[in-house]
């Protein structure tokens, strides 16, 4: 058997699954968003769904909210993750145990984290109770709304909780592979600690931070259960709105839901492009 043949046979099952389920699902979503589905008699594609969605203030507000949640969560997670990795690369007693604890919530599903955040930060949650005992508040309602709130604080807290270890573990591995020689050289040449970090270490780890952050950004933009549990009822995060529109009793709204799914897919396509650029930079460095 020639190598070409062998490669084709090895890849065929996986590519079939991915082309049919993933690209097939995407393609059908795109077609339906244009009201074009010859199989069921829709033969004239049009832009009605996009017109309806893009002129709907609810959609625009959802889009803005989701973008804000993703950007904020990703930035905060990346900064804390870098700081955490700097901390954890030091040698100290019990480092193995601490590293394990740092990774603990990597395997905890988002929905569990969301429930945990709810029990900590709701107006009758753990921190509200603490505030009561210190005398800061007299009633639950006096505790600031940190979940179901317009600024999506609860959602962002959950994402930061979940994603700091994810980015942190990747950055830590990079730092350990690099060692401290480069920084030592910079320091011996008179650089301050901050300068050694800013001009030597940070550029070296940045591609890894970027590729992990891009995965986080795309995930948070498309996640459903966290904003469903912790978000305000209005405006809703885009995936929540898309699901609600799709399962609406009015089947005519389905193309609009598909258009929203296409918007999410387009944004993640942009993320893939950014990811490839970041990983290429990582391979070069």
């Amino acid at each position: 058997m020639s190598d070409r043949m062998r490669i084709a046979l090895l890849l065929a099952p996986a590519m079939t699954v991915i082309v049919v389920l993933f690209f097939g699902g995407l393609a059908v979503g795109v077609m339906r968003s244009f009201n074009w589905m010859p199989v069921i008699g829709l033969t004239e594609p049009n832009l009605d769904a996009y017109r309806a969605v893009l002129s709907d203030p609810d959609f625009l507000r959802s889009f803005g909210l989701t973008l804000y949640i993703s950007i904020t969560s990703t930035l905060i997670s990346a900064v804390i993750a870098i700081a955490a990795a700097l901390l954890l690369r030091q040698s100290f007693a019990g480092r193995g145990a601490i590293n394990l604890l740092f990774q603990l919530n990597l395997t905890v599903p988002h929905i569990v984290g969301a429930i945990g955040v709810l029990y900590l930060f709701s107006q009758s949650g753990f921190f509200a109770r603490m505030a009561f005992h210190i005398g800061l508040i007299a009633r639950p309602a006096e505790f600031p709304a940190l979940v179901f709130d317009p600024f999506a604080i609860g959602i962002i807290l959950q994402y930061v909780w979940k994603e700091v270890p994810f980015i942190g573990v990747i950055v830590l591995a990079q730092m350990q592979a690099l060692g401290t020689d480069y920084e030592s050289v910079a320091r011996s040449l008179g650089a301050s600690r901050w300068q050694a970090f800013r001009h030597v270490l940070l550029p070296l780890i940045l591609p890894g931070v970027l590729s992990a952050s891009i995965i986080v950004f795309a995930f948070t933009f498309g996640a459903y259960e966290v904003p469903l549990l912790l978000g305000a009822s209005h405006p809703q995060a885009l995936p929540v709105l898309a699901y609600k529109t799709y399962t609406d009793v009015d089947l005519a709204a389905r193309p609009e839901a598909m258009a929203m799914a296409v918007v999410i897919a387009l944004l993640s396509a942009l993320m893939i492009w950014a990811y490839l650029r970041a990983t290429r930079a990582r391979l070069r460095s």
């Binding site: 490669i7 046979l9 090895l10 890849l11 099952p13 996986a14 699954v17 991915i18 389920l21 993933f22 097939g24 699902g25 995407l26 059908v28 979503g29 077609m31 339906r32 901390l87 100290f92 601490i98 604890l101 603990l104 395997t107 599903p109 988002h110 569990v112 429930i115 945990g116 709810l118 029990y119 900590l120 949650g125 509200a128 009561f132 909780w161 270890p165 994810f166 573990v169 990747i170 950055v171 591995a173 990079q174 350990q176 992990a212 995965i215 795309a218 995930f219 498309g222 459903y224 259960e225 469903l228 995936p239 898309a242 699901y243 799914a261 296409v262 897919a265 993640s268 893939i272 490839l276």
Partner: protein
Amino acid sequence: MNGPSRLSRSMLVLSGALLIIWLILPLVPMLIWSFAHGWRFPDLLPQQWSLQAWDYALSDRSGTLESLGVTILIAALATLLSILVGVPAGRALGLYKFRGKGLIELMILAPVIVPGIAVALGLHSVFIQLGLTNTLAGVVLVHLVPTLPYMTLVMAGIFANYDPAHESQARSLGANAVQTFWHVTLPAIMPGIIVGGLFAFLVSWSQYILTLLIGGGRVITLPLLLFSFASAGRNDITGAIGIIYILPGILILLFTARHLSGSNGAVGGFGRI
């Protein structure tokens, strides 16, 4: 480099402690709730402890055990299929250089980044036609979208460090294809299959929207059950089911901690859990 001063040393320890506490803290109220018998504002701890929530969660009435079975079955099937399909693909990507490889890798990477909901709405309208909605088989198939790319990428990493010369040696000594695979290839790639498989299992284990949409509320996995108790305000039962739900992941983490580091392809899968 000079060692850090005492002050900055204790600052380091303090911020490290804060970090770890923050990472564990959200799990604590869940654990306490599961043993609480009424836990009203503003009590910092429940007035009474009880095993009622656990009793209920583990009884037939709550549906937890049934959900647990369904969740395990779906995750096991999705993992098995991902291994069967992903190992050959990983071999092609890890061992060979060929034209169009970049494109193939891109197509396999895409489902890791594109959110499930963007694919699932379109897939749902096709699955309706095929009678796959509201069925376990449909849910297993849709779980392949996040699990397969991940398994394939892990195996590509394993095969990149694999020497196929051992196989030709075995063949020249008279082993047939099956014997060679069984005695030479499989033992060499087994660690990859185990770690990749465990995390593919976890990726399926943690799916929510794909199961909800394709399962149509008929296929109730643990996260769906957990959500319904959480939104009904049954905090004690939510706590108990939540603990049951996260245990396998924590066990898998303890089991694989030695094999994992951020440079390992397996970690990428955490982005989807």
